[in-house]
Symmetry: C2
Subunit: 305 residues, 2 copies
């Protein structure tokens, strides 16, 4: 087993993931928890980090590189934003040091788009992006990072020209739990078992995005009039939201753009099914691999050799 | 004061409104309450009606005409649906009698659109529609009835060709209360005081409906980066949802269509501001006047003179 080189941490709003990384770039050990920013803001960031470092037996003095909400204003130490347009490599150089620690702990900045007509922010996804494309990418890319607030980033020759957040995941949750449609989908699994209904909803909403809030309602009226199943109703809501996001993002992307999906698990399956339904070509990069890649690029810039 | 001719009732999911109507069509007395279908299903429909009839001193044997959710499957007596396409006047003839009452009580049917690609239902709005246009209207109309589930109905020469429900009101509620945007709008009044932000959101979402869930997010990112006020954030959410609805409905309406808004109060103000921002011409009919007009047309058909 290689000697440890550094510790990589992805610290989100509601999740914590830490990897002990070897000098040969291999993952030596991993520790996950639910002490995201919201929890850690109450119990203490230093204590959460120390507990996970203990679990992987991280040597004293081993440096730690962190991305995500730990760098937010409500986080551990505010890491600010790099303003777009910006080169991907500029993310690498904006890390802030956490003061008064026994070891070197740094937090990477987020990205901000200050255009008053399209203000946007991200924290954590910029590191995934860096890992997915590498600091010196070429060509035109549209990178899709699905989630609670999905991010679509437009990159040309290693430079982020702009990005947009879509509230897809959070709206799916709010619609499923807090509207009349909660009855329509009661009992359905979280992953749409009804692939035909999902694909059909994706195509319908992509062609006519303005009908989105009507398409939601048909999950209920379809049940009243045609006995639509709960699984099909859920697939309709999910497919409509995802297609709305893709339609919006692709209208920003222009032509000749390569679509890269950075995802894992259930969301990877849903977005791949949506791209297939729309005959859009794409390539997928695993989200964990991407964030570790971005953290590795930062670690090697900050602590060379 | 004229002699009473009949009692008109608009019985919704969460509201109850009753009018004592004179032989000269004037409103002799009114009684309102919050015993909508949901409440009445527990406490008894006959008891709720009797209590309000007592409040307006309705003579024994005076007949009662009802529209709305009292005719739903979970209501008092199921009044079924008239299937579209259908003439407006066919609504008048589909009323069902409530059995075992000391007086003649009838409930009007709803409308159903059974097209499997666009299933839809309404209960109550069909009566507003009838009152707004009259049973023998001419020309092409798009009638907008905003609410929890806004309805847009397309009518040509007195015949309903189709309609669509949009979950505008309910989504505004779910987004305002159950997403991260609840923080962005905390403290704002329910009516957008920020008319400029509302008009700008309406135009932006109407031009690019696929960006809707991104525009919602900018209510938060605009606050983070530019100190957007809570009133402006709320206006942005509301304007985006209303514009999405109008964009969808107008894409169904085709050209040369007269837009009629059937609304009152806060919603009337919001939709009128949206139509003005989009330079769409419209005429407004008061929602109460419209529903009483529809109930009057039904009463006169069922109980001539």
């Amino acid at each position: 087993m290689a000697d440890p080189a550094y510790v990589a941490v992805d610290w989100g709003t509601s999740s914590f993931r830490l990897w002990l990384i070897g000098k040969d770039d291999s993952v030596l050990a991993e520790s996950r928890g639910n002490e995201g920013m919201t929890t850690a803001a109450k119990t203490g960031f230093a204590e959460v980090l120390a507990s996970h470092l203990g679990k992987v037996n991280a040597p004293e003095n081993l440096p730690v590189i962190i991305c995500g909400m730990a760098g937010a204003k409500q986080g551990w130490v505010e890491a600010g934003y790099v303003d777009v347009p910006a080169s991907l490599s500029s993310i690498l150089t904006g890390a802030v040091s956490v003061p008064d620690q026994s070891r070197d702990v740094r937090i990477l900045p987020g990205l901000a788009q200050r255009d008053p007509a399209r203000p946007d922010v991200m924290r954590g996804e910029e590191t995934q992006l860096l890992g997915a494309l590498g600091p010196q990418s070429t060509g035109s890319q549209a990178v899709c990072m699905p989630g609670t607030h999905s991010k679509w980033v437009h990159v040309k020759n290693g430079r982020v020209s702009g990005f947009s957040s879509f509230m897809t995941g959070e709206l799916f949750d709010a619609i499923s739990k807090h509207t009349i449609l909660s009855h329509a989908i009661a009992g359905a699994d979280q992953s749409p078992a009804d692939e035909a209904a999902f694909g059909s909803a994706v195509k319908t909403a992509y062609d006519r995005p303005a009908m989105a809030t009507n398409l939601f309602f048909t999950a209920r009226s379809g049940q009243l009039l045609h006995g639509l199943t709960a699984a099909a109703a859920q697939a309709k809501i999910s497919g409509t939201l995802i297609a709305l996001e893709i339609a919006g993002a692709m209208s920003d992307a222009g032509t000749g753009v390569d679509v890269t999906l950075v995802a894992a698990g259930r969301l990877q399956g849903l977005y791949e099914a949506a791209f297939k339904a729309l005959s859009l070509s794409y390539n997928t990069i695993d989200a964990d691999t991407a964030v570790r890649g971005g953290l590795a690029a930062a670690a090697k810039t900050i602590w060379p050799n």
